[in-house]
Symmetry: C2
Subunit: 237 residues, 2 copies
């Protein structure tokens, strides 16, 4: 299949703040954006509703949700019934890999994005990982993203056309535009691109109607980010 002539980016979209900004950045390049979400047995399906709202609001060309079965392997507070920690200070979060870590999650998500990229001829896959606030997650670091980009180009038709050597520049780029940004910088970038953060949800343990708990790691990082950015979080109004 020949590559699609329309410049295209696959954007991993979770319904959270970071991936919304990632989509806005990809849209600002003029690329056609194909948004990809995963139904992986999250306890809070409200995330998927947020992803659909964000995709629509930010002009994604298409939004697909792939159902996968990470519960089969267990191992995380987001898919198991482990208690989500409350009111941890940021330095405690940074001390190790969070209990909310899902095994191999970004590897799996990027693999599905790669399949869609291969079918559509997309030259870019964008992921909203962030190595500053999420330093505890092994699959949010630059070396991981670079290693996956190599897999993407060795393991697909697109990367292998015309007998290109493996040292040639990648034909599929894995882009992580937030990787070196603080949460405050991510929020400022999103505001400058017109992202409505009221559509997003970050909370690990939301209440009725998706109301953020205000006490989990994600709520605390988000609140600190809005405070540092000098902005008000519309999701908490």
């Amino acid at each position: 299949m020949p590559p699609d002539p329309v410049p295209t980016t696959i954007v991993l979209l979770s319904g959270g703040l970071d991936s919304a900004v990632t989509l806005a950045i990809a849209r600002a390049t003029g690329d056609r954006c194909l948004a990809l979400s995963f139904d992986y047995g999250q306890r809070h399906r409200i995330e998927l509703e947020a992803a659909a709202r964000v995709a629509r609001a930010l002009g994604a060309h298409e939004h697909r949700t792939v159902r996968i079965d990470l519960r089969a392997f267990g191992g995380s507070a987001l898919t198991d019934e482990i208690t989500v920690p409350r009111d941890r200070p940021a330095h405690a979060m940074a001390a190790g890999i969070p209990v909310t870590y899902v095994p191999a999650r970004n590897t799996i998500f990027l693999s599905f994005a790669l399949a869609w990229a291969e079918v559509t001829g997309a030259a870019r896959i964008a992921i909203g990982v962030n190595a500053v606030d999420f330093s505890g997650y092994p699959d949010c670091r630059p070396a991981f993203i670079e290693a996956f980009e190599r897999v993407a180009n060795l393991g697909t038709r697109l990367g292998q056309e015309d007998g290109r050597s493996t040292s040639a520049p990648p034909r599929i780029a894995i882009e992580a535009p937030l990787i070196h940004l603080s949460k405050a910088a991510i929020i400022q970038r999103g505001l400058s691109l017109g992202v409505d953060f009221g559509l997003t949800i970050s909370c690990y343990d939301p209440g009725a109607g998706g109301r953020p708990c205000g006490h989990c790691d994600a709520c605390i990082l988000r609140a600190a980010g809005f405070a540092a950015a000098g902005a008000v979080d519309p999701a908490t109004r």
Copy 2:
């Protein structure tokens, strides 16, 4: 979670000949073997029944089937309604990427295996890829396997414990014991390990009861392999 003290290999098991031999090789090391299959919208679910039979016969400790949704992206004869080619000579098969190629398939399969490895503390993931007969598949080559091993070790907790540098030897090894073997050599290896090939199915287009068609690429390669190995294929008796 501490690594499991029982030496463990995750084995990707398709129901075909190659992955059966891969499981037999892993079992021969004495490792506990956890067999992993995928229900990805194959047209022929008989493959999954074959995988279950093979797992049982070869003493896998456990066999899980993860349901994934590759049909969402299309792009291959094995999941779409493209016609499977018949009676192609081997040199025609070798001329390009087969129409039966599924986008990013091995990347996706290895990613799920990685999640299970991380949860169970498995130190090895074994995959029955073969670069000789399947030279047209980009994700069956040594460079791809090596690149995925790097992703596995950078993207998981196991690979990152104790602040190890990224140049340290991998803690999760991706093993592809058949990668340099011909089909005949794979069959001979399996026979020496007691694999009952009558339990396996290779055909892309089987008839009633899983009877191989004898005309698709997989049937032709299999028949040539048994002939070269000087053996009779019990599946065709």
